[in-house]
């Protein structure tokens, strides 16, 4: 296995995420928390994030349907999701959350729907990219992953 190559790929993937604004500084903070005691911390958090955010998005969609124009409710759901996004550094998703909440504030159903779609798209993109990233890391193996690629 060409660890260095894989590592390079992983690093490049991650850099891309940062450059394109999918991830922000908070993600680095999360990465910093990974250590010998919790060697897979970042991946664990990411897994939890996607699971939880998937659920929240799904709940939100249901709420949009079940409670039409219930902006307060929608806003509350979105606030939860925004919290998650900001904790992990999912920057673009977070922005879409904020835009959704703005639309709620303006009581624009269309705006909310639009934001939600964008949010889902960002969610999918981020998930796919991070999955690739971690897959690369796994290939590199513990030895390779131990050295966090310099970003």
């Amino acid at each position: 296995m060409d660890y260095s190559n894989l590592r390079r790929q992983a690093a490049s993937l991650k850099k891309g995420l940062f450059d394109q604004g999918h991830l922000d500084e908070q993600f680095r903070q999360v990465e910093d928390l990974q250590d010998e005691a919790s060697p897979n911390f970042v991946e664990e958090v990411v897994v939890v994030f996607f699971k939880d955010s998937g659920r929240l998005i799904s709940n939100l969609e249901q709420a949009l349907e079940k409670y039409p124009r219930d902006f307060n409710r929608w806003d509350a759901y979105m606030q939860q999701l925004k919290g998650s996004c900001s904790s992990i550094g999912a920057s673009r998703m977070k922005n879409e959350c904020m835009s959704f909440r703005d639309n709620c504030g303006q009581r624009s159903v269309e705006g909310c729907m639009g934001s939600l779609q964008k949010l889902k798209r960002e969610h999918a993109i981020l998930r796919q990219k991070l999955e690739s990233y971690f897959q690369l890391l796994r290939q590199v193996g513990p030895a390779g992953a131990a050295t966090r690629p310099a970003m």
Binding site: Q29, V30, L33, V45, K82, G83
Partner: protein, 655 residues
């Protein structure tokens, strides 16, 4: 380092605070929780994380000493973060830090007024978390001070006046501790002007000077004080004249002045609360409310209380004749009757109130009592506490309390009060409420009665216990029941108008020597405080509820559950009490409304200190406990009982 802090540090095996500081993290968001937990671990804290507020509360209630600090999210599905904040502040007097995605000023403001020590925005950065230990230390020091002082006082048994207490002399406890805390406290004082945690200490202590013994306002002392104030008229009462009238040795004008300040705040708060408490009266009237403790939850229950009709029934009743055990009933009655009871006259009706209160309380046990119940429970709890202190049977009370507490989020006062099973905050609250109800009843007696009643009511065993220990003269109760300060019960309106004055009256009334209630026993102290609280009458209860609110932005229901209530009262009363500001009561300190029965006559049993009036920061409570029997102390110390805080602050034994 402070005992508590030490204990916490010791628990981890290393006295290297903040390393090993025990944090309870609560957040329903799994991602945030996981990250937060790891961040905290990275700071070398000992972390317990849960995604449910109810679990967190349970853990805290089971053992308040398990944690040094709580960090909680604001938006949680099972319980509002602010509510948790209040409860923790009230019941456990722990520092609470709020977390939220929402950084809007009004939300942050809400957090602070509810008593949060700090408000962090998500995503939380590790740098912010590295500093959170300050809140623990700060709180410990502020409470410690009073405690230390008490301890010192006791140790030194000083006949000497304040000036005699030199910093160095106060070494009864651990010298290093005494030295450090006071110093630190002073530092903190200067740093944390806005935190009232230290206010209690500030009253008598000049932050810049060596520690001086704090005046402990015993029931007796407070009684004299109130009598003096009433004699002069609340508006005209000046410390100098009060001091003259009181004619107490070694009491300085400053002591009186600070006490007066608290008293005034307390009165003000009562009147504010009274106006909101019309519902409470109604609630108190019915037995059912007691059963519907859960109504208490967030005070909403108050509104749900039985209609005034029920209350009036009570008033008609011979609550008066209720024996001690019926104190509770009386209390309740009082609440109800507050309407009917003429102000200022010591009508027998007051007694009935107590009696009813007792009765109510009876109904409470084991039930999810309604708010009233809670109130009663609270008062009963207090009374019980007092009694309990006397005897070991705190269990019952705890049970009751626990039951009640479950019903609602009563302030945590109770737990702190009893060393024995943690009294559910509810109960504590109830007690307080009860106390409030008693306005009509002689505070001392009422409280005693109430206590007795409460005790008896709450549990059979208690009753017996009560009778054993307290020789509370129930008889005196009826006849001399403190005049119901009609304003209290009648309705918020009257209350508010008369509140201040009445309270004063009630206060003094309660303290009238005629009260043969055993209050003196130690309950007196409580009574004193009770009186204070008692006067609250239903309004008071509401006040309790709204204590916090009146002073803070909390609404009544929040108040109730929040420590606000107690804190307000206590806080007002005692500048000492940890300020609710911090957490609504200091929030954390929450108002302990329970008065603590200072040692006064109390029998061997540990004196329960009811910090009825004082929302008492826990520190106060601690102090109170400290002043009281050491035993109590230990019991109380574990749980920063609000009781302690309240009364203690008010009723400290004079040095």
């Amino acid at each position: 380092m402070r005992t508590d802090v030490r204990r916490g540090a010791a628990a981890t095996g290393m006295d290297q605070f903040p390393v090993g500081m025990r944090v309870l993290a609560v957040d329903d968001d799994p991602v945030c929780l996981k990250v937060l937990e790891t961040l905290l671990r990275r700071c070398q804290y000992h972390v317990t994380a849960t995604n449910q507020a109810v679990i967190a509360l349970r853990m805290l209630r089971e053992n308040r000493d398990m944690f040094d600090l709580v960090i909680s999210d604001v938006h949680m599905p099972d319980m509002d973060g602010f509510k948790l904040l209040e409860l923790v502040g009230l019941e456990m007097d722990l520092p609470v830090i709020m977390l939220s995605v929402n950084g809007e000023t009004k939300t942050v403001m809400k957090g602070i007024t509810h008593g949060a020590c700090d408000y962090l925005l998500k995503p939380v950065r590790i740098e912010e978390l590295r500093n959170i230990w300050q809140h623990v230390v700060r709180r410990k020091f502020s409470t410690r001070d009073s405690v230390n002082l008490d301890t010192y006082e006791e140790c030194n048994k000083p006949p000497s006046a304040d000036s005699d207490y030199v910093f160095g002399q106060v070494t009864c406890g651990s010298p290093d501790q005494s030295g450090r805390p006071s110093k630190k406290r002073k530092e903190y004082h200067s740093e944390e002007e806005d935190e009232d945690e230290d206010s209690s200490g500030q009253d008598n202590d000049d932050p810049s000077a060596p520690k001086r013994p704090r005046v402990v306002w015993s029931v007796e002392l407070h009684r004299k004080f109130v009598a003096a104030v009433n004699h002069l008229g609340i508006d005209k009462a000046v410390p100098k004249r009060i001091l003259e009238l009181m004619n107490v040795e070694k009491l300085t004008r400053e002591n009186v002045a600070s006490h007066l300040q608290k008293y005034r705040l307390y009165l003000r708060r009562l009147s504010a609360v009274a106006s909101q408490q019309a519902g409470i009266v109604a609630a108190l009237g019915g037995r059912d409310p007691f059963l519907r403790m859960d109504a208490f939850e967030g005070l909403q229950g108050y509104q749900a209380f039985t209609s005034p009709a029920a209350l009036s029934t009570f008033s008609a009743h011979g609550l008066l004749n209720s024996p001690r055990n019926n104190q509770t009933a009386v209390v309740i009655q009082g609440v109800a009757t507050s309407r009917s009871i003429p102000t200022g006259s010591s009508s027998c009706t007051t007694n009935p109130l107590i009696g009813d209160a007792a009765k109510y309380h009876l109904s409470l046990p084991g039930n999810q009592h309604g708010n009233l119940g809670q109130g009663l429970a609270t008062s009963l709890g207090q009374a019980q506490l007092q009694q309990k202190w006397m005897n070991e049977g705190s269990g019952d009370l705890s049970t009751i309390l626990s039951g009640n507490s479950r019903a609602n989020g009563m302030p945590r006062m109770l737990p702190s009060v009893t060393s024995s099973p943690l009294l559910p905050p509810d109960l504590v609250e109830c007690t307080q409420a009860k106390v409030a109800i008693q306005p009509s009843v002689r505070a001392p007696s009422a409280s005693v009665e109430l206590l007795e009643g409460a005790i008896g009511a709450s549990s059979g065993p208690l009753e017996s216990r009560v009778s054993q220990q307290s020789a509370l003269p129930s008889s005196g109760f009826s006849a001399n029941m403190l005049p119901v300060h009609g304003s209290f019960n009648n309705n918020g309106a009257s209350f508010s108008s008369n509140g201040a004055t009445r309270l004063g009256d009630a206060f003094s009334a309660s303290f009238r020597p005629t009260n043969d209630l055993t209050v003196a026993r130690g309950t007196k102290v409580g009574a004193g405080s009770f009186g204070g609280t008692i006067h609250l009458s239903p309004d008071t209860e509401q006040k309790y509820l709204s204590f916090g609110s009146s002073d803070s932005l909390l609404d009544p229901k929040l108040v109730w559950s929040s420590s606000q209530l107690p804190s307000n009262i206590g806080a007002h009363y005692h500048s000492m009490s940890q300020r609710s500001n911090n957490c609504s009561i200091d929030s954390s300190h929450g108002g302990r409304m329970f008065g603590q029965t200072s040692a006064s006559a109390s029998t061997a049993a540990p004196q329960t200190k009811f910090d009825i009036l004082f929302s008492g920061d826990t520190s106060m409570a601690r102090n109170a406990s400290e002043s009281g029997p050491q035993r109590l102390q230990s019991e109380l110390s574990s749980s920063t009982c609000s009781f302690d805080g309240l009364l203690n602050s008010m009723i400290k034994v004079v040095r």
